[in-house]
């Protein structure tokens, strides 16, 4: 390296450094100007434009003006910048040409030559003009002034190198102007010089840096060069730029260390690998630590020295830049970095030495920062300093452990030796801090001096760190420091102090679910609790640890044994119970009921099987496992009745419990969702709304204290319930993993039993699961005995044997041998006894238990069914055959019209109109052995047949047709159809015209029977008939008993034909056929067939002179609109009541269509005069039509209407009583009395020839 010239005074590296400007020439002149100059120069800033694209800066220039000496000029290769004269000024006051020529010019020339010799081009010549002097010298020519001469002589094309300063000491505007121009020039020149010289310096420096791969390159040399630049920037108050220089050095060095670690070592680095011998920490109180700097300069610095020096410089600059927090942050990085680098470079460091260095450095940095900030600033920037605090704490702790200061006994001799060695490495305290009471040096020395002092310092630091962490919300860091503190206390055998820190940390880890820290902290806590004698807590922690899978098997077994040994030890002091939560000992996985619906009758046996997953690492003998059961009676609830329970509670009987995820935290947002329900409360009297609201059904889940769920460590908070109802299981060995435990209980009182707590007892230790969730219940019910009788099929059919099922639910009653059901016989229903009736006994769960023969004994009134013996809560099922006899009055006269037993028709069937079956109910009263009351059971039987009849005429011959319709689903066989006249009128004969029996009648089909009615004398107006037919199921096999025939009674009336009506249509005369559109004649002839009969005796009959006549009304109606009736279509005729009396009516009709057209209908009515004596009587059962002479059309639309209109009730078309006016009435003739001889006749109509109209209808 280039040493500076020997006699140079040492440069004092302080803030006072200023760029050097030399002054030559008139020293007196300069001295007089200097005060003003040094005052004016920094007043205004100047913009410094910089090379390499760096941002321009405004800079206030100051200078150190020194007298010019040739020695000041640097020789070639001198890298010193601080002593570098940036500008040379020559001062002259000369105004006399003579003088100039004589002395000044020579002097100037000499000065210039010296500068040139050192190739210094930064110079300036200042000519001070003084008016006073000028006036004295009158011979001065203004044109050739001295300035011009100088410019001419020296400033070769650089006339601005010569500046005039006019009257510098006067106070005039001219003076001011002149000063300003001069200062500007001076500043510009200085900056130009800086730019040029620094630029050159930087270039040289870079060149040097590029040589760093060369063998002889030395980091220290380079360090000195770049630091020179930093100094200049610092001198120019460009601290940012200065800092950049140091940062570059820092980065360069770091990179070398990293490369060294990667195997790329540089020779010079070996200097820094010397063993660490001194560890006296950073020194930040001096701007420049000359001592260290010299070590670097001499290439004797160790790594720590270099780092310390570098950091102290960075620190100084950062503080100049008002960035103290960056100091703290960088300090932490530096300390960590140094520790790393020493490791990387494999520098040998005595144990504890680095801890000392770090500790001292931390405190030094903190004190330095505190020294330049006020309290408020520090408090608001704890986040930056807290790292140093906790680092210092940590280091002090490890020093304490190293030096044996953290133990009960205190340090031994080896520890003391180590302490002495460490203190030796600190050296003597530096003079800067010697007078400071709390200097890091003193602190460390004191802390290592005694156990008590160490404790004091360590606690101070720890508490401060915890407090700081807490104050800025770094709770985890605070807890972590707290854990160290707890460890310390444990070492000091003060577990009571350690506990709170361990609990705090554990709570934090639990809340955030950090399994390994939880396990570790718990282990520490267990030890702590053991020392403290907190039995319950210790056992709980032990159980948690024993179930912790992060521990080794041995550790877990250890903690398990701890519990077991406690349990066995304590047996001699009874009464004391330790209640611990179950979940860490074993977990309830599932629960299974037998019977699976968890419903059991009183006295029944219920078993509950649970799967308990033991968390212990080894088998544990549990004396007793109990389940606490809560009993409640809810009698009024229908849901608790036997019927509901046995039918509706059908689960598979297994309840799964959610596995408790212990290591995962219960995150705050993991609360169950609100289960809200609307609630309406109505007044019981009038059902009006009293209150309404919303109920939260899971309040117990939501309003649980959040803390208690996580801090199970402190107190279990488990209350042991003592209840009367307990399920027990003794002497269970819980193997690790799943264990099945079965509880059995006999149900006693009916009600609901809720399983509440599960408890496992090991000695005095109770492991309790305080709540079973989801809730588990079983129900016990008691049931009254019941008898149920129901048909086997959908409906029972009358007339044939039908099966009926009897179900006896025994309930709490035990059926003994000899118990029987007494059935009081219904009249028309038989109970058919078979020899081999069997009863089946089922258990409560529908499993077949046994079957037995049924004893049925029948007497006239009572049928006794002997029940087989059956235990309580069983079912006896058997079937009996019953037969509903077709009872005699069912088809009696009154119900004979349609063969339907209207009175028994079920209401629900009416909608099916005529297609449903008639029904009969039979009530059976049954006496049961368990009750003094009779049970009445109604059985409904349906009559499978519907029978109708009709009267058919052929002229005067009469036929009776009976139709039997099978409404049931079964096929029947009909045999022996008979129709008899019960009055056995000898004049009448019924001649069957039927097929041979038996006849098959399928489901939903009909069979017709026809008889011809013959008589010999005048027939009676009405005739009673009884139809009977034997019926049996078509596929029934042989029946045990003969079945009664099916009967149907009815009556036919007015069956004798009185009138024959014949209609005929004749084509117009001269034509062969009728034509559409042309009139044809309609001839109607009405012929009386008999003389006066009984039936004619009504008000239509008029008598005069033994001659009878009756009034009839005819009407021609064409409902199919084939014909247009022209003229009168109806009329009243008077008909003589005598055989063969004929009345002819002629009418004109016109066919409207072509083809074979049926004839229009001709209807006959009795025409009753209004003055009828019977009118009032008729009113009673006839309906009156409001329209005058309209006719009830119904009559005619019933072509096969039977002759037997019951009681002549319905169809009197009448206008008689209309509003009191006397009107004639019409009465339809019973169809049996009129025979229409031309019914079904058709007439051929041919289309008319002139019919050209084609009708097209479009829809």
């Amino acid at each position: 390296m280039d040493a500076p010239e020997a006699p140079l005074p040492p440069v004092i590296y302080t803030m006072e450094n200023k760029p050097i400007v030399t002054c030559a020439g008139d020293q007196n002149l300069f001295t007089s100007i200097y005060p003003t100059l040094s005052q004016q120069l920094p007043r205004e800033p100047m913009e410094w434009r910089r090379s390499y694209g760096r941002a321009p800066k405004m800079i206030h220039l100051e200078s150190n003006f020194v007298q010019f000496k040739e020695e000041l000029l640097p020789k070639d290769g001198n890298k010193a910048l601080l002593t570098f004269p940036f500008l040379h000024i020559y001062w002259t006051e000369c105004c006399d040409t003579e003088v100039y020529k004589a002395t000044v010019k020579d002097d100037l020339t000499k000065w210039q030559n010296v500068l040139k010799a050192h190739s210094s081009v930064d110079w300036l010549i200042v000519v001070v003009e003084n008016d006073a002097k000028k006036k004295n010298k009158t011979n001065i020519l203004p044109r050739t002034s001295i300035v011009d001469k100088i410019r001419n002589d020296f400033c070769n094309k650089q006339s601005d190198r010569c500046v005039v300063l006019s009257d510098p000491l006067k106070d005039s505007s001219r003076t001011q102007e002149s000063w300003n121009a001069f200062l500007t020039k001076l500043r510009t020149s200085l900056l130009m010089s800086f730019t040029k010289n620094l630029g050159k310096f930087e270039d040289d420096m870079r060149t040097l840096r590029e040589k760093r791969t060369e063998p002889g390159w030395s980091f220290c040399d380079y360090f000195m060069v770049q630091e020179e630049l930093a100094f200049v920037f610092e001198m120019l108050q460009q601290f940012e730029d200065a800092l950049v220089q140091y940062d570059e050095l820092d980065a360069l060095f770091s990179q070398y260390v990293v490369n060294f670690g990667a195997g790329d070592g540089a020779n010079w680095l070996t200097f820094f690998c010397q063993p660490v011998k001194s560890w006296n920490g950073l020194i930040l109180r001096k701007p420049i630590d000359m001592e260290k700097r010299e070590l670097i300069q001499r290439q004797e610095a160790t790594l720590l020295d270099l780092r310390s020096y570098l950091f102290s410089r960075q620190c100084t600059l950062l503080l100049f830049l008002q960035r103290p927090w960056e100091v703290a942050q960088r300090a932490l990085e530096l300390l960590h970095g140094c520790v790393q680098e020493l490791k990387l470079l494999e520098v040998s460091v005595p144990p504890g030495a680095l801890d000392c260095w770090v500790f001292l450095s931390c405190l030094e940095v903190l004190q330095r920062i505190e020294g330049c900030c006020d309290r408020a600033q520090i408090d608001s920037n704890i986040a930056h300093t807290v790292g140093l605090w906790s680092y210092a704490t940590e280091k002090l702790k490890s020093l304490g452990y190293l030096c044996g200061l953290v133990s009960e006994k205190g340090p031994d001799s080896e520890d003391l030796n180590r302490t002495v060695d460490l203190l030796a490495g600190l050296g003597a305290e530096r003079p800067e801090t010697a007078n400071t009471a709390q200097s890091p040096y003193k602190k460390l020395k004191e802390a290592l001096s005694s156990v008590e002092a160490f404790e004091k310092h360590y606690l101070d630091l720890s508490h401060a760190a915890i407090e700081m962490h807490t104050s800025i919300g770094r709770l985890r860091s605070a807890k972590f420091v707290g854990k160290d503190l707890a460890e310390f206390y444990m070492r000091k055998k003060s577990p009571q102090k350690a506990e709170v820190y361990l609990q705090g940390a554990l709570k934090n880890y639990l809340a955030e679910g950090w399994a390994l820290p939880i396990t570790h902290t718990r282990k520490q806590l267990a030890e702590c609790q053991k020392h403290l004698g907190q039995t319950e807590n210790y056992l709980q922690t032990s159980s948690l640890l024993a179930s912790d899978h992060h521990l080794t098997e041995d550790e877990r077994k250890h903690f398990c044994r701890e519990i077991l040994s406690f349990a066995s030890r304590q047996t001699d002091s009874p009464g004391q119970k330790i209640v611990l939560p179950l979940h860490c000992f074993a977990q309830l996985r599932d629960l299974h009921f037998t019977p699976s619906n968890a419903v059991v009758h009183v006295g029944g046996v219920l078993s509950v099987e649970i799967t308990l997953c033991s968390q212990m690492p080894m088998p544990v003998q549990v004396e007793q496992v109990t389940i606490n059961v809560h009993f409640s009676i809810d009698k009024n609830n229908y849901r608790k009745t036997a019927e509901w329970l046995t039918k509706h509670k059908t689960s598979n009987g297994t309840i799964n419990f959610p596995t408790e995820t212990s290591p995962l935290p219960a995150p705050q947002n993991n609360l169950p969702a609100l289960e809200l329900y609307e609630m309406f409360e109505r007044s019981p009297s009038d059902n009006s709304l009293n209150t309404t609201g919303i109920i939260c059904k899971n309040v117990h889940m939501l309003l649980r204290r959040q803390e208690s769920s996580t801090s199970l460590e402190t107190s279990s908070g488990v209350a042991l319930e003592d209840g009367a109802h307990v399920l027990k299981c003794s002497g269970v060995t819980l193997e690790p993993g799943a264990n099945r435990i079965t509880f059995r209980t006999q149900a006693r009182e009916p009600g609901t039993y809720t399983l509440r707590q599960l408890c496992a007892s090991v000695g005095p230790v109770r492991f309790v699961l305080p709540h079973l969730y989801p809730p588990v219940q079983y129900d016990v019910y008691s049931q009254e005995p019941q008898l149920r009788v129901e048909p086997l099929a959908d409906s029972l059919l009358a007339g044939i044997p039908q099966k009926v099922k009897f179900t006896v639910t025994t309930g709490h009653y035990t059926v003994k041998n000899g118990d029987s059901l007494q059935l009081s016989n219904a009249e028309a229903m038989l109970i058919l006894c078979h020899a081999e009736n069997r009863a089946v006994i089922y258990s409560n769960t529908r499993e077949k238990a046994s079957d037995a023969l049924l004893r049925v004994q029948s007497s006239d009134k009572v049928t006794s069914i002997g029940l087989p013996a059956a235990p309580a809560y069983h079912m006896i099922e058997f079937e009996l055959e019953v037969l509903s006899l077709p009872s005699a009055p069912v088809t009696g006269g009154e119900s004979s019209v349609l063969g339907m037993t209207e009175s028994h028709r079920k209401h629900k069937d009416t909608q099916k109109a005529g297609q449903c079956m008639a029904t009969t109910d039979h009530k059976v009263s049954i006496d049961c052995p368990w009750s003094i009351y009779s049970t009445v059971i109604a059985l409904t039987f349906s009559v499978p047949f519907r029978t109708t009849h009709s009267l058919l005429s052929a002229g005067t011959r009469k036929y009776i047709q009976v139709c039997v319709q099978n409404l049931s689903e079964l096929d029947f066989e009909l045999s022996d159809g008979h129709l008899v006249d019960p009055d056995s009128n000898a004049d009448l004969r019924l001649v069957p015209l039927n097929a041979k029996s038996p006849q098959h009648i399928r489901s939903k089909q009909s069979v017709f029977f026809v008889w011809e009615l013959k008589w010999t004398r005048e027939p009676p107006p009405s005739l009673r008939c009884r139809f009977s037919v034997g019926s049996s199921p078509a596929s029934g096999g042989r029946l045990s008993i003969p079945l009664k025939p099916y009967t149907y009674e009815f009556q036919v009336e007015n069956f004798f034909t009185l009138y024959n009506v014949r209609a005929e249509i004749l084509p117009p005369s001269g034509t062969e056929h009728c034509r559409t559109g042309s009139l044809c004649s309609l001839e109607v002839s009405i012929t009386r067939l008999s003389d006066l009969l009984e039936v004619d005796k009504d008000e239509a009959l008029t008598e005069s002179d033994e001659y009878f006549s009756t009034k009839l009304m005819y009407e021609v109606v064409d409902n199919s609109s084939n014909w247009a009736v022209c003229g009168k279509s109806s009329g009243v005729i008077s008909m003589p009541v005598a055989a063969r009396a004929t009345h002819r009516v002629h009418m004109e009709v016109m066919p409207l269509f072509a083809g074979y057209l049926p004839l229009p209908d001709v209807r006959l009515f009795k025409y009753l005069p209004h003055h009828s004596a019977h009118s009032s009587q008729l009113d009673a059962d006839s309906w009156i039509e409001s329209d005058g002479l309209s006719v009830d059309k119904h009559v005619d639309e019933q072509p096969d209407g039977g002759g037997g209109r019951c009681r002549g009730s319905a169809h009197l078309a009448s206008g008689g009583e209309h509003r009191g006016l006397p009107m004639p009435r019409l009465q339809a003739l019973p169809p049996g009395q009129v025979f229409n001889a031309s019914v079904g006749t058709q007439v051929l109509v041919i289309p008319s020839k002139d019919d050209h109209v084609l009708e097209v209808s479009v829809t």
Partner: protein
């Protein structure tokens, strides 16, 4: 070189944590947990100042002289999250994620 990789749920429990020298596992757990303090701070600061939200790297979280930690496995984490069978909040057991972490740890070692 990564010595420990941890993915932490927003409730601050570890979704995934793995460290290279297994004997020091506990220490790393403590360290990662403590560093959550700084994560909390930085994330809450993110809300206040308009820091570029896309910058996922949070910087130095925990002062340690032993290791420098960093966190850069966001892409792989996103993949895990995109797995329809992954239940957000569960611990990560993805094999792909595991091997990615392994490669991160080996990379510079």
């Amino acid at each position: 070189m990564a010595v420990c990789v941890a993915v932490i749920a927003k409730e601050n429990y570890p979704l995934y944590i793995r460290s290279a020298p297994t004997e020091n596992e506990l220490k790393f757990h403590y360290m990662v947990h403590t560093s959550l303090d700084v994560v909390d701070e930085k994330i809450s600061a993110m809300g206040k100042a308009l820091v570029d939200q896309r910058e996922l790297y949070l910087g130095l979280l925990y002062p340690t002289e032993d290791y420098k930690m960093f966190r850069k496995l966001h892409n792989s984490y996103t993949d895990v999250m995109c797995n329809p069978f992954y239940n957000p909040g569960d611990r990560i057991q993805s094999r792909a994620f595991d091997s990615m972490v392994t490669s991160m740890m080996i990379q510079v070692c």
